[in-house]
Amino acid sequence: MSRTSFFSSINEIRNAGQYQRSRLKMGILFTLPAVIILLAVLAYPIISSFILSFQDVRLAAGGIVTEFVGLDNYMRIFQDAAFRNAFNNSIYFTFVEVIAVTILSLGLALLLNHPIGRPAIYRVILLIPWALAPVANAVLWKWIYNANYGVLNAIVVGLGLSETGVVWLGSPFLALNMILIADVWKAIPFITLLLLAGLQNIPRHLYKAALMDGATTWQQFVHVTLPGLRTTLIISIVLQSIWALKVFDLVFVLTKGGPADGTVLLNFLSWRVTFNYLNIGYGAAIADVLFVLMLLLALAYIRALRPRTSARK
């Protein structure tokens, strides 16, 4: 928000009448608890980790010892092959996951919104993958993907698609995609639920009007459904991008970043450097870069697909 518009709205408020002032008071009252909680819990850690990223941090007797090193950690990032690798992996992973999840969830939401898909049983089934603890989920998929006794290979060999089965987590690119599949599977329920709620929010009479104008199913979808889902879709995409960039459990349990760093994602790299190598300053720098990346991404989405604040006609 620009400076001039901020001050002009302050003036607006001063000149506003009773109604506007009470609205403003209500607005602040409604927002305050949330802001307070967020600040209280996260302000210090976030600021602290920014500060740490400009320092060389070592474990020492009685705690940590910090030494200001300016931009050294950030400079190191740009020369670090491991970072470049993690960065590429993360971009690929996020891109594919967001597309896959959005399309599949949209299809699923449409399916569950259809009269045939209405029974509650389907929604309960939808929730089950989501309800599974991520730790258990990771171990389950590791179990399924096991090259020797995993059920996926049992199916593949049983169907005659392969003689000896595939080492799913054995080659870098394949392993990355298998993790992708496991994460997409886990991510779909929530986005579907979100889109479903969004679908139900679209007024029925719009469909009736379109039908009366002679629109086909496809045209109804493009001209009524999609615009109606616009905000929800944007939120889904932004959230899914953020979550895809924060994937950790699956990498940790299934491959520990291997083989040969093929499945190292940025969040995992940050953990490895912070907790495994105890290079807390560098780990903080990586995390901050990740943060900036997500921020830019979110801003780009929102700007490119700027939603109107009032309901569309």
């Binding site: 802001v35 258990a136 171990v139 639920l193």
Partner: protein, 275 residues
């Protein structure tokens, strides 16, 4: 398109959905009933006579802490989702309708807290919480989870509140309703599907969260995910027991979903718009 054909296609898609969604889960359940020697055999030995309950028996042994883990998770998840919905829906409404100055900046900052990889705030957060004596407490974990869950709740609900036709609120204002009354009696009742979606989200996220649960608890507030992960050791992973405990830990969420299924069922907008 032929109506019957489209019905068949839809049925096929639905069945595929059920299979793909439940497939892995079914495999987890089967695994939990078999001993390891059957599961590592090639081909997999699904002999029904080998089905055994020992995994479940061993998992429910109190030394494993699964029951207390479930209770702790239940407490934390319930409180977190309840408070998140209350506080979050209010904030979302304010940001959607009550034209606060700088609401875009606030919104972006709220979302920005989500973007911070938790890994790196873990150490400073631990230091703060241990100085406040909130390590290994329910309250401590709840506050931390609230901070993770609130941004999403606010963002999603804001989107929904914005898409509610403004005529509704204008009508209420004309009838003399205050902002709070409009919020409570007009907006909230028709927002039940998204409210439920975000409520479930908050619940499940708090239920399943692992990394901070490990860092910020020690013995007393062991949550379900921690109890489950203990079966994956360095030298041995007790797959059958781990999946048994995972199945048990997922049950409460599934049961809650069944109880509250009505809320994900019908839309309430029709009635609201008509009136």
């Amino acid at each position: 398109m032929n109506k019957n054909l489209s019905k068949v296609i839809i049925q096929i898609f639905l069945i595929s959905f059920v299979f793909l969604a439940l497939g892995p889960i079914l495999w987890a359940v089967v695994t939990s009933f078999l001993p390891l020697s059957s599961l590592t055999a090639k081909p997999i030995d699904l002999d029904p006579t080998k089905f055994t309950l020992t995994n479940y028996v061993e998992v429910l042994d109190t030394s494993r802490g699964l029951m207390s883990g479930l209770i702790n998770s239940m407490i934390i998840a319930t409180f977190t989702s309840a408070v998140a919905l209350t506080v979050g829906s209010a904030a979302a409404y304010a940001l959607a309708r009550l034209s606060l100055p700088g609401s875009n900046a606030i919104l972006l900052s709220i979302l920005a807290t989500q973007m911070f990889p938790g890994i790196v705030i873990a150490i400073p957060l631990f230091i703060v919480m241990s100085r406040l004596g909130m390590i290994d407490t329910h309250l401590g974990l709840m506050f931390v989870y609230l901070s993770f869950v609130l941004p999403i709740v606010i963002w999603i609900l804001k989107g929904f509140f914005e898409s509610i036709p403004i005529q509704l609120e204008k009508a209420a204002a004309i009838d003399g309703a205050t902002n709070t009354q409009t919020f409570r009696y007009i907006i909230l009742p028709i927002s039940l599907p998204p409210l439920f979606a975000t409520g479930v989200f908050a619940f499940i996220e708090s239920w399943n969260e692992f990394f901070f649960a490990i860092i910020l608890t020690r013995i007393n507030v062991k949550t379900a995910p921690i109890a489950i992960s203990e079966f994956a050791g360095q030298y041995r992973t007790l797959y059958g027991q781990m999946l048994a405990s995972a199945v048990l830990a997922s049950l409460p969420v599934v049961i809650l979903a069944i109880i509250f299924r009505r809320f994900i069922l019908e839309g309430f907008v029709e009635g609201a718009v008509k009136s």
